[in-house]
Amino acid sequence: MDMQFGVMLRGLFDWDDDMKVRFNELMEQARLIDKLGYDCITKGSHFSTYPHQEMTQIPFLCRIMSEAPNVRLNAGIVLLALHNPMEVADYFATMDLMSGGRMIFGCALGYREVEYKAFGVEKGTGVTRFEENLEAVRRLWTDEKVSMKGTTFELDEARISVPLQQDPHPPIWIGANADVAIKRAARLGDCWYLNPHQKVETLLRQMDLYREELEKHKKPFPKELPIRREVFCAPTHDEAVELAAPYIKGMYDAYKTWGQDKAMPAEDRDITQEYAELARDRFIVGDPDEVAEEYVRYNKELGVNHIIMSVQGVGMPQGQVLDTLSLVAEEVMPKVRAA
């Protein structure tokens, strides 16, 4: 598979920001991404985002389909332990149909207490729910009528509401940080969706684990292997560093308070380290040549062939986002393809 270039429209905004304006900006970003020849738009999922505002994943992906008619649309990721499988399977079947078969279904466990409580999911039951839900979703997508009794649902001759466009179903990417989750991703997913927080050396170690686990389950190495990274690209190295500094700090302070660090492997757990130390081997910061080199290195070292970049830190102005999108499309993508 050729290298795929994706963009994550994270869009975390301050609580007093005007979301009608921010939404129109995100639509403009989606149109530009489509026009510049990117392959994919990704939207993540969190609930109860105070003190930030964020467009919710499924409504947003459905709305931008018409603005971005060519790119694939990645729900990266759905917090699958929280949701009901009938609902999720049906939403994504309709979305796959409306988008002409452009959906990617990413899923992961989630980790925030406020979300687990709000959805009535006891913490210790998350893995069971996740695995049962995924099995139910897959069966609803592929079987004619499904009867299956899970711990928290019962499908009694249930049927999907519209047929899937992709055969047999949208790709299932599984987000995983901890070793045990990576093993689960190998066993259950079409691929492991490598996360944006971990250092390359950690990912290299975990990639060996992932390969071992694939072999154990007699599964081939995935044709498509995606990773998400924070990318700060500017015309010169110094401008890129200057661009990155405030956003990285703000973002990780927020994640820290949400408890994301607890879901990470021990050696990577302190994500509030000093910026420079934090950024090294974890974020991609540089001029177009440097960013292209990093993309190629990720491809060579980790085997990833779909790099999804997040470019908009909290508070980053729209003009800056659009500039980065254009710069990467025009100066990074051709270099990576050539290499």
């Binding site: 609580w15 979301m19 009608k20 939404f23 969190h46 609930f47 109860s48 985002t49 105070y50 930030h52 505002q53 964020e54 467009m55 919710t56 499924i58 409504p59 947003f60 459905c62 709305r63 389909m65 018409s66 603005e67 929280l82 949701h83 009901n84 499988p85 009938m86 609902e87 049906d90 939403y91 079947a93 309709t94 979305m95 149909l97 409306m98 002409g100 207490e113 406020v114 979300e115 409580k117 709000a118 959805f119 009535g120 009528k145 928290t152 649902f153 019962e154 499908l155 009694d156 001759e157 249930a158 049927r159 999907i160 509401s161 519209v162 047929p163 466009q165």
Partner: protein
């Protein structure tokens, strides 16, 4: 109402393109809103899912309000619904209506792990939680099946204080509940007219009981089809509308109907006093009659049923806008 239910032999990609054309036509003709219902596992039909469909269609109908009519609220978790619909309210520029009702189908209740006797409690707790999430910054509330622990929505709604909350209700006890907790009672397409006269009086008494004002907007949905004559209209829709109601009866929709009524009737008996068929004049007069007697000021028509050809739908959308709407406006 863009019902979007289809038989399971149809090409759904083609049907989706047709649905987009219908919505563009509605927008161009000046209709005020479009509604989409909610079912899971709608065997033997195909059906687009409500929330994704409304989000996609809003791109093609920028001037219209969108009605989630209704959400099966007992099945869902309140934080999820509050956040999805807040995002939809923002994306649509404050054009969203939130309809909610209990639901009744076993296959849905089982799939969502809802024990039948707990539906009402879940419905009421969920609605209270959604309302609080839409109006407060941080919410603490412990329901039987969820706990909001300093939780927030991901953004506030555009409409102040929140999108209108319409409650679907069939039986008297549900109408009472609609008066107590809703902004309006959303009257279904399948209530008989004579039942409605009685229930509307009942609803008004309930509003008085709860010291709530008469709703400023009062919606009514009806199945409507226009042809040269009433007979021609009935003949034209018989295969499609007949299939819809025999299926809903088999799903159990007759269970929560008002006392003494059922959908388990032969088609010719079913349509009496319930659906609006005729030429444009007759249809307009009947709508005026409903509006006068009930006080309805938001009339939602359905004119597409499973298996019905796209051209029939497009023609009826156009005829209704050109020949019926002006007469109704004039007559009221």
């Amino acid at each position: 109402m863009t019902r979007s239910q289809y038989t399971r032999t149809e090409d759904m990609t083609a049907r989706f393109e047709e649905l987009l054309q219908q919505v563009r036509l509605l927008n161009a003709l000046g209709y005020d809103s479009f509604a989409k219902g909610n079912h899971y596992s709608s065997d033997p039909f195909y059906e687009f899912q409500q929330l994704p469909l409304l989000c996609r269609l809003m791109a093609d109908a920028p001037d219209m309000r969108l009605i989630a009519g209704i959400v099966l609220l007992a099945l869902h978790k309140p934080l999820e619904i509050a956040e999805y619909f807040a995002t939809m309210d923002v994306m649509s520029g404050g054009n969203l209506v939130f309809g909610a009702a209990l639901g009744y189908r076993d296959v849905e209740y089982k799939a969502f792990d809802i024990k039948k006797g707990t539906g009402v409690k879940r419905f009421e707790q969920n609605l209270e939680a959604i309302r609080r999430l839409w109006t407060g910054e941080r919410v603490n509330m412990k329901g039987d099946y969820f706990e909001l622990d300093n939780a927030s929505v991901s953004m506030p709604c555009v409409q102040n204080p929140h999108p209108p909350i319409w409650i679907g209700a069939n039986a008297d006890v549900a109408v009472d509940r609609a008066a107590r907790i809703g902004d309006a009672w959303y009257i279904s397409a399948h209530h008989r007219k004579d039942t409605l006269y009685r229930q509307v009086e009942f609803y008004k008494r309930c509003l008085e009981k709860y010291k709530k004002p008469y709703p400023t907007e009062w919606p009514l949905r009806r199945e409507v089809y226009i042809a040269d004559s009433r007979e021609a209209a009935i003949d034209a829709v018989r295969p499609y509308l007949g299939l819809k109601y025999s299926t809903y009866h088999a799903w159990g929709q007759s269970g929560p109907m008002p006392q003494g009524d059922t959908l388990g009737l032969e088609f010719d008996d079913l349509l009496q006093n319930r659906f609006i068929f005729g030429n444009a004049n007759e249809v307009a007069e009947e709508i005026i009659d409903y509006c006068r007697l009930l006080g309805t000021n938001n009339f939602i028509t359905s004119c597409q049923w499973p298996g019905m050809p796209h051209t029939m739908v497009m023609e009826n959308i156009e005829m209704f806008a050109k020949d019926v709407i002006p007469k109704v406006r004039q007559g009221l």
